[in-house]
């Protein structure tokens, strides 16, 4: 809706409803944000702005859940801004813009959804698991890696048919299963043989291998870039389609600064799950070749296409990304 040329979809204030620690330096933040909650899909993120003039840039945080009027974010203290955020009590308002970007294309998922998450990449996949379960029709396996303590395992267990967790450092057996048990879960107990390691160790384990329905599998992944690259390669070798969510430093988070671009191979269609509105599609087509759009002529011949992580992503098809060492 437009009021005097101004559209009602800008930054809004969102009150903190609940703010609790999930693990050491990892917090769950529930915000009252009905407009965002109504439309957010898994893989999208919001810009969180801090109430501090020394920290003006947005903090992009993935949506971990959206129900009723609430948006859940799960984040780690990673620097000054998230440290300040972690001290905001319930009742405090933060400014919020979103949901931003294109999420996972849940419609493209076959009979087997394989969710592969690393660390703070897990929360967005929790939201994906929930929505895939709601849609029905797919078996869901989650393969999750953590640096230390795990989180989101209970939720994952609710929505997934099987959950595998592994940690690089912490005593994983007791932690991983203890935190996960005690709910009347639909899925199985999280599986963990007590070894420490990373997501790729789990992914290449025999248990996961036995569950894999490669012909019908779709990978949804989120996590650190080296992990995503390894997942992309793993999936490619098995002919499995993978949707990965990238991370990049952002100046605006809504497509205006061109700070967040990544190199991709030319592609036909966007990977994102969010259906573009007619208005947007019109803008996009018209602007084909516009800023952040497809390079034509010279660039195209070199296969050079740059896309904005904030608006064209953060979710991309893994085979369209030009990985660092390609």
């Amino acid at each position: 809706m437009t009021v005097g040329g101004l559209k009602e979809n800008g930054i809004r204030r969102a009150e903190i409803i609940e703010h609790i620690p999930l693990a050491s330096q990892v917090f769950q933040l529930k915000l009252h944000a009905p407009d965002v909650a109504a439309v957010a899909v898994p893989g999208q993120f919001v810009n969180v702005y801090l109430n501090d003039a020394a920290m003006l840039l947005p903090r992009p945080i993935g949506v971990a859940d959206a129900t009723d009027a609430q948006v859940t974010l799960i984040y780690a203290v990673a620097g000054r801004g998230t440290e300040l955020l972690s001290r905001y009590a319930s009742g405090t308002c933060v400014r919020l813009l979103g949901p931003n970007g294109n999420g996972y294309n849940l419609g493209a998922i076959g009979a087997h959804a394989l969710l592969i998450g690393g660390g703070l990449g897990v929360p967005p996949l929790l939201f994906a698991a929930k929505r895939i379960r709601e849609r029905g029709g797919a078996r869901i396996t989650a393969v999750l890696g953590y640096k230390d303590e795990p989180y989101c395992l209970r939720g994952m267990k609710l929505f997934c048919d099987s959950v595998y967790g592994i940690s690089e450092r912490a005593a994983p057996v007791s932690e991983l299963s203890a935190r996960a048990s005690g709910t009347e879960a639909a899925g199985s107990e999280p599986k963990c043989d007590g070894k420490t390691g990373n997501v790729m160790d789990l992914l290449t384990s025999t248990e996961v291998g036995e569950e894999l329905d490669a012909g019908n599998a779709t990978v949804l992944s989120c996590g650190p870039a080296p992990m995503l690259r390894a997942v992309a390669r793993w999936a490619q070798m098995r002919g499995i389609r993978a949707q990965v969510s990238l991370e990049e430093r952002m100046g605006c988070g809504y497509g205006a600064c061109v700070c967040c671009t990544c190199a991709v191979k030319p592609r036909e269609e966007p990977a994102g799950g969010r259906e573009a509105s007619a208005d947007e599609t019109a803008g996009r087509t018209d602007l084909n070749g516009g800023i952040g759009g497809r390079f034509e002529s010279e660039g195209e011949r070199r296969g050079l296409v740059r896309r904005k992580v904030c608006t064209d992503g953060p979710v991309f098809q893994s085979d369209e990304i030009v990985w660092g060492d390609d």
Binding site: N9, L56, L57, Y254
Partner: protein, 300 residues
């Protein structure tokens, strides 16, 4: 709402607030406000061929501002003309094309192509600190600015704005060189060269090592430069640097600017332009033109 129309080198703006180059993308900014709302919009620096820009990270946070080192990633002038420019002109928007180049010939080639379009004004970006050749290399040398402006002047009937770099010994000299060579206006300031180092890794935060500082932190520097340049040249001065509110914009007008551009504020809030225009409306209410352009009428 009071009449805020201004005439900048013969081009009518409905108010004196424009979007600054590199911070406005029609398809994205247009999701938040009608691009027809500002007096004009300046589009991202455009070069002859597509430029891929710098590696990432391209942005870093600073106290009261940000550093960017985008490096003028853009799809090239042909794609710009058939894409962004066409889209905006179809909607009746007053468009300033920000022109980039690695060499004087390249700037001229872009200007030649743009002259044949319905773009309203050209802004020569001789002040980008984030590209190895061209950009600021021109803007810090008064002879180079004079020569380039002179060459461009002969190529086009479009109003030519020269965008000045603050990274110089005396910005007034450069402004005067642009004026003498036939510029219709000058705009300032582009970003200040800056750098941040991550003490954990011991390495620069930006992949490009250095970047351009913008945002509220630069505003006093920008106001002072606008003030000095406006006293030196007779052509209109378009002021920018750290404008976050209507009151900030008012300071620039009082310093002698005929109009302003808003950059970083729009990145931090997609609705900053409409908000600033409304706030400025309140600021100018009840003031005469002489009171608005204080410095030009002689208080300093």
């Amino acid at each position: 709402m009071i009449d805020m129309r201004v005439d900048i080198c013969g081009v009518k703006w409905k108010n004196p607030v424009a979007a600054a180059a590199g911070t406005f993308v029609a398809a994205e900014s247009g999701k938040y406000y009608d691009p027809n709302l500002p007096g004009a919009v300046t589009t991202k620096g455009v070069s002859l061929a597509p430029w891929p820009g710098n590696p990432t990270p391209r942005v870093a946070e600073t106290y009261g501002g940000m550093l960017n080192a985008v490096g003028l990633e853009n799809p090239g002038v042909d794609a710009y003309i058939s894409g962004e420019l066409k889209y905006l002109k179809e909607r009746g928007v007053t468009v300033i094309a920000n022109v980039a180049g690695h060499s004087a010939d390249e700037y001229c080639a872009v200007v030649r192509k743009l002259s044949e379009t319905d773009v309203d004004m050209l802004e020569l970006n001789v002040s980008c600190p984030n590209v190895a050749a061209g950009g600021m290399a021109f803007g810090v040398d008064r002879n180079a600015v004079g020569e380039l402006t002179g060459r461009v002047r002969k190529l086009t009937d479009k109003p030519v704005i020269v965008k000045l770099s603050p990274n110089v010994t005396d910005i007034c000299d450069i402004a005067a060189a642009a004026e003498d060579a036939g510029a219709d206006a000058v705009s300032l300031i582009n970003t200040l060269v800056g750098m941040r180092i991550d003490i954990r890794s011991g390495k620069p935060v930006l992949a490009n090592v250095t970047g351009g500082l913008s945002g509220p932190a630069v505003k006093p520097v920008a106001v002072a430069m606008v003030y000095r340049v406006a006293k030196r040249v007779r052509i209109p001065v378009i002021g920018m640097g750290g404008i976050m509110t209507g009151a900030d914009a008012m300071e620039f007008l009082l310093a002698g600017a005929s109009a302003v551009e808003v950059g970083t504020a729009a990145l931090l809030d997609p609705n900053a332009l409409p908000r600033i225009i409304e706030e400025l409306d309140v600021c100018v209410a009840g003031r005469s033109a002489a009171q608005i352009h204080g410095s030009k009428t002689g208080w300093g």
